[in-house]
């Protein structure tokens, strides 16, 4: 499982930009929402698209989920619990590098 979390994490780091938005709160929101949406999409659950912002997270997640399916043949067959576990693991790692332990001081500023 750790390996799979690592693979997804590496893919996100190389491919995505939303984990590195300007401020902590944006980074955290993106990481949790988008990876959360990936888990939901992958297990056929309904995703919140009620606002433009939520819809944007959905769009990022949708494309990411399909890229992960294409890239990793094990990704499609996973149970909800497993997908969730992977996504949670990825969230934790992304939070660690982009929010909790990031060396980027600017992300803490209160204004854009």
């Amino acid at each position: 499982m750790e390996d799979r979390i690592g693979l997804v994490y590496s893919f996100v780091m190389e491919r995505c930009l939303w984990q590195f938005f300007s401020r902590n709160w944006d980074r955290e929101e993106n990481i949790r929402r988008i990876m959360g949406d990936v888990a939901k999409i992958q297990s056929g659950q309904e995703v919140d698209r009620s606002t433009n912002i939520a819809n944007s997270h959905y769009a990022d997640a949708k494309i990411l989920a399909s890229q992960l399916s294409q890239r990793f043949d094990w990704f499609d067959g996973l149970s909800w619990a497993k997908v969730n576990e992977i996504c949670d693991g990825v969230i934790e790692k992304l939070m660690d590098i982009a929010v909790v332990n990031s060396l980027n001081a600017e992300r803490n500023e209160s204004k854009y």
């Binding site: 990022d60 332990n101 854009y112």
Partner: protein, 464 residues
Amino acid sequence: MPMALLEADVKIPERKKHVYIKQPGEDTKQYLPASNITTIPGSLSERGCSYCGAKLVIGGVLKDTIQIIHGPVGCSYNTWHTKRYPSDADNFQIKYAWSTDMKESNVVFGGEARLKKSMLEAFAAFPDKRRMMVYTTCATALIGDDIKAVAKEVQDELGDVDIFCVECPGFAGVSQSKGHHVFNIDWVNQKVGTVEPDITSDFTINIIGDYNIQGDAYVLQRYMDEIGVQVIAHFTGNGTYDACRSMHRAKLSITNCARSAGYIANELQKQYGIPRMDVDTWGFDYVKESLRKIGAFFNIEDRVEALIEREVAVHGPRLDGFKAGLAGKKVAIWTGGPRLWHWTKALEDDLGMEVVAMASKFGHQEDFEKVIARGRVGTVYIDDGNELEFFEVIDMVKPDVIFTGPRVGELVKKVHIPYINGHAYHNGPYMGFEGAVNMARDMSNAIHSNLFKLAKRDISKGGF
């Protein structure tokens, strides 16, 4: 030794924190180059000033706006004829430069009257142009001219004009980046929301952080037209002043250059609930992904897939034609900041090249988080690089081609390395599918140029 003190920097050891060589297993929690901090005087930094970040990069791109620079003539002169951003408005924005041509007496007695006269003259000379941006510069900021008050007077007097004031003198920040910031924040707070656009589609977006370099914006516009998405504002490539005032009416902002325009995307999200979606509009494969995200957002995936299918059918084989000649070739990218992270993976994944050194003039730590996440192990990452460092890095990593500006291009030419204009391109556009092909073609022509092979030959030694 991931943070590296180069030989050239032994006498300015504070440079060590700006130079990083990525080692296996490392990430940006351990090492992140210092950036967006004070330039070391006399280091032969490549940076420009804050004023140019606002005027030359963002405001000056607008195709319908008079750009009047309040200061000595050089600030206007210097930010004229240094960019390749055309427009479909007869290139108004690159043909003209306005200056209040401030003189010594104005420094002593103030330059507001001079500014007002110059503004009125500019409107009189161009009667069909009713939009203006006014910029302070070092001299006029130091003497404290109130350009906003003057702008208000002119606006009241003429009635049909709208004026935006940019108060960001050259010394205001450590690089052009500060100018981006000031422009973004003041624009969203002062001008966005003051014009209502005609909405012609259910699908509306802002395209943020693209400046129509060699027609990039035309490519993106064509894609949006084809999938039925209305571009409310292009901030600012081939854009208009009033369109950028109506950005609050879009449902989505796609952001390419997050360094120069991430601020406005953030504020639009915060103030108007318009999501910021970061995309890569460079790179063959990235473009597919970016378009698909827009398709997913608007539920128009079928249109997007049709576009991608056709574009890939046309341009895919052309790109493939360059792959064999470029695979394994080494690239250095020495540009402003974001192109590092936009390009490094794209060149590697699309073409099999190796990006071996990257230097950013004005990137922030956020940019280095992105580029180090995307970049290779062993690659050299530099903030605010200087000339002696560049020579040293060339010796270390031996690039086959370098993306950089024309001046540094002239320098690296002497050591037998071709350059490609990383700011203004050689023969663009570089965005979109066709752009990725153009970029590959330019690299191929550069790397395989016979002239550089001939340059290496010393005819005095015979053997040829």
